[in-house]
Amino acid sequence: MSTSALIVQSGLADHLRKSRWPARLDLLQSGTGLILALFMWGHMFFVASILLGETAMWTVTRMFEGYFFFGGARPRLVSCVAAGVLLLFVLHALLALRKFPANYRQYRVLRAHVRAMRHEDSALWIWQVYTGFALFFLASAHLYQMLVWPQNIGPYASADRVWSDGLWPFYLLMLLAVEAHGGIGLYRLAMKWNWPRFSRNFLKKLKWGLTGFFLILGLMTLGAYMKIGFEHQARYGERYRPAELPAWLERLAPEGDFPRRGPKENAS
């Protein structure tokens, strides 16, 4: 056992030179939160590609599977991204736990305090605790699913999962939790480090605006998958395949997968 560990065990930690770890953990918590929140917003846009049509969503999915770069789909690439995000998520959750009320006494006093104070930013943090707690389960389950079954992403596969597999309430809850948590988190991050240096009022309005935008986008997207899933339930399990691709995309697709349209004949 190291000398410092023995000193800490002896209750003399305050007499040691201060550890740098609290600073590193604070930076890590902010950093992982920032990456996860930005990832979440990017992810929302990719998932929402279904609003542009089934082929658009299929193209986005195939792009992340490396279909247009490696001569065929490699769903394991999605698994790798899911594993990375899961790792970040676990690390972020572990770091955020340090700030949670640690026992009933702390929870009780905090809740009474926030209720009596009627202070918006304190209440926002309480909501972050609640939504963060919900995400321990919701986001973990979702990320595990993406890690293990990355091939089941696509216009029909995702829609079947949402509707026929009955996961739409799960996605609805996760959407509400993740948008609230990420939006509040980014606002609080800006307050915590005082960067970017816009006014607090502006940042709060921006935060509510973005949360509203992503919630509407998310609800529309979920609705679209539910509709496709409902219409596709008789053909559950069938995968989407576009009949044809735009010419520019077709050129990127692996040889033979889509019939090539020959170059336009030279008029001369």
């Binding site: 030179r17 201060k18 550890s19 740098r20 770890w21 609290p22 600073a23 590193r24 953990l25 604070d26 930076l27 340090r98 700030k99 009320p101 640690a102 702390q106 006093v109 905090l110 305090h113 926030v114 209720r115 009596a116 104070m117 009627r118 202070h119 930013d121 304190s122 943090w125 609080r188 307050m191 915590k192 480090w193 005082n194 960067w195 607090r200």
Partner: protein, 247 residues
């Protein structure tokens, strides 16, 4: 042109005051109702004195300066910390609840011992000037300082140690060893002072953990309730950045 707020002279206000005397074994915390006539320009401090003088001489609360300088009369007004001497009754609803500042040692009713905690915090964070000489020469003329530096230090030194920031802080309610915005603000003040010889490594030893700057969860209630409108949000963020660089 905005009209001056004119109090309704006939308005009767009710003050629900938390009564509890920790010195008496049989005392139990309870709310006691008091009603009084609102007067022109009446502050909460005046109202409380009126109550003590004419209705209940046992009512305990603190005050010294009556002008928002000493910070003694801080209390929770409808759940939020405020200075009684700076709170106009005309700005309050007809029924108001007064409770003592949480976190600090309760003396009785609305009276708390902020001084004891402030002194402990000051000793812990060494909030005094650490000059080069251990034995200062009192006859020597003080070193010159740029006016803007002096101004910045003065601005950081406006804290009256009323305890409002700590009473408003969710972190402090959960973790009593947290030094609060008042403690962190004092470190910023001495860090800005060129006469202080300490560097960021020294300050890290004082506040570089979860009882210090990394314990702050940026709930910003301290910033929002400070009766002196100190820019606590900016000060704490500044200190966090400086201390994070040490890691």
């Amino acid at each position: 042109m905005s009209a001056e707020k004119t109090p309704n002279p006939s308005r009767r206000v009710t003050l629900n005051i938390l009564r509890y005397n920790p010195q008496e074994a049989e005392s139990e915390p309870r709310l006691q109702r008091y009603a009084l006539e609102e007067a022109d320009g009446m502050t909460l401090f005046i109202a409380l004195n009126e109550l003590r003088e004419h209705q209940d001489p046992t009512l305990q609360f603190d005050f010294v300066c009556r002008a928002g300088i000493c910070g003694s009369c801080a209390m929770m007004v409808n759940g939020r910390p405020r200075l009684a001497c700076r709170t106009l009754v005309a700005d309050l609803p007809s029924e108001t609840t007064l409770t003592p500042l949480p976190f600090f040692e309760l003396i009785g009713d609305l009276s708390v011992n902020t001084g004891k905690w402030m002194r402990g915090m000051s000793e812990r964070l060494e909030t005094w000037l650490h000059a080069r000489e251990t034995e200062p020469d009192l006859g020597r003329i003080e070193e010159r300082m740029q006016p803007e530096t002096a101004e910045a230090i003065y601005e950081l030194d406006r804290c009256i140690e009323c305890g409002c920031c700590v009473a408003a802080c969710g972190t402090a309610q959960m973790r009593p060893d947290f030094v609060g915005a008042v403690g962190l603000g004092k470190i910023v003040r001495f860090r800005a002072d060129p006469r202080d010889t300490r560097d960021d490594d020294d300050y890290f030893e004082l506040i570089g953990d979860d009882t210090g700057v990394f314990g702050c969860m940026s709930l910003l209630a301290c910033h929002d309730v400070c009766p002196k409108s100190l820019p606590l949000k900016t000060q704490i963020a500044f200190l966090r950045r400086k201390m994070a660089l040490i890691a």
